[in-house]
Symmetry: none
Subunit: 253 residues, 2 copies
């Protein structure tokens, strides 16, 4: 039933598998992606190679997606050129993030893509899902609505449902778009660099002086700015604010 097709780069979201454990799942993800016209696959520290025999067999004709897949040593690198990130998760997290069902989420993705942005969707490891710190860079969470008493999905099935929702959303097009007021969205790299700068400026002033709270404080702080979907110009504004807040007052109120 399957056959090799010529590789076409899709305009759809990049699929990022974080720490996938089984080669078969990587192959089945590639197959599900090709079913849904998605083509760009990124893998963060996969345990097995996407080109091993098991992965290729499971891809069932979608080998070219495996051949074009990219491997990264960490999630930040995998996200460096991405503008808008959504993360899939089954269990609720202790974190303030907007949560979308797939139709809504993919319709947002489409708007960002139409706007020229690179969009990625994160999927965690088979048993454990995404770790809390892997959710931090996400602009939002996708929750796939399923039987609340039995919502465990195989990794490739989760990708299939998201991919299918993408395919369905883009086969009936609408021309809604996100008004950007002429400005460019910031890259993940620019956001990360800004956040690191902010943390350093706070750190040298003793902001993180309880070591046991540091990680949580850092995560909460990052969530605030990541949720804002900052533009490149806004990042400049924020650098300006940080610099100016450090100056002594010079004007009377």
């Amino acid at each position: 039933m399957s056959k090799k097709v010529s590789f076409e780069q899709s305009t759809g979201p990049v699929i990022i598998l974080v720490r996938p454990q089984m080669a078969e799942n990587i192959g089945m993800v590639a197959r599900a992606m090709m079913n849904c016209t998605l083509s760009e696959l990124r893998l963060v520290t996969p345990r097995e190679s996407p080109l091993c025999a098991k992965a290729v067999a499971a891809s069932s004709g979608a080998q070219e997606i495996l051949e074009h897949s990219q491997i990264y040593e960490n999630l930040s690198d995998a996200l460096a050129d991405v503008h808008f990130v959504l993360a899939t998760t089954a269990r609720p997290r202790d974190m303030t993030k907007p949560v979308f069902h797939p139709e809504k989420a993919l319709s947002f993705c489409q708007k960002h893509i139409q706007n020229g942005e690179k969009v990625a969707i994160l999927f965690g490891a088979e048993r454990t899902g995404l770790e809390n710190e892997e959710l931090v860079p996400a602009n939002g969470i996708i929750e796939i609505p399923l039987n609340p008493k039995h919502c465990s999905l195989n990794l490739s099935q989760a990708v299939l449902l998201i991919g299918y929702t993408w395919f369905r959303a883009t086969s009936d097009r609408d021309n809604t778009h996100l008004a950007m007021g002429g400005s460019q969205p910031a890259t993940q790299e620019a956001v990360q660099t800004f956040l690191t700068h902010l943390e350093q400026e706070l750190d040298i002033r003793g902001y993180f002086h309880w070591p046991e709270k540091r990680e949580r404080m850092q995560r909460n702080l990052r969530n605030i700015f990541i949720r804002a979907n900052l533009t490149a110009a806004e990042i400049k504004t924020l650098y300006g604010i940080i610099a100016d807040l450090q100056r002594p007052p010079r004007l009377k109120k």
Copy 2:
């Protein structure tokens, strides 16, 4: 991630697998059904038992669906008490039948079920699909829209997409929300008070020193924080940051 749940007969369509070849697929079909609150599984001459170890392992907690499944010697027997039948197929057939996409098909199913009828959806064997004579009893065909260059689906994935469409159609709850991680959203007043404080702190340091730009700078600044839908706790965090950024550095970087 999966756990055993008490068996509940669903009101959804009966899933009928015709000549399934692999026990793993039967198990994975049961899992996909349970994900989507479907419960009634019928098997026409399966090659392996739905209760063999491989099927049970693949069902990943949906064993009760396997235990309650019924085996039939032919399709007519499996359909004897059914009122409305839809068949899934990948390739076009030389046959005059209405063809529906899944949303439409499941919405028909729902109407028939509300009408007190028993509804079934047929899935063919893994490689060959349904034979032409197995399509004859069907009131209509479901065609799952996918990449025309690569539309082969694993049996359980086809059941999952149909089941998910059923679940989405019948549990029409929009789950978009902001996950708050236990914290409270900030009131408008708290946000405004914070923004005024930030602007005052910036103002006395000369941040707004071009009067003609002041209004625009203020608006841009406010947009950043308003778009973040801040929580009450985050507002406290931001006050802390502003205070701390004004302190002299006291630690080495």
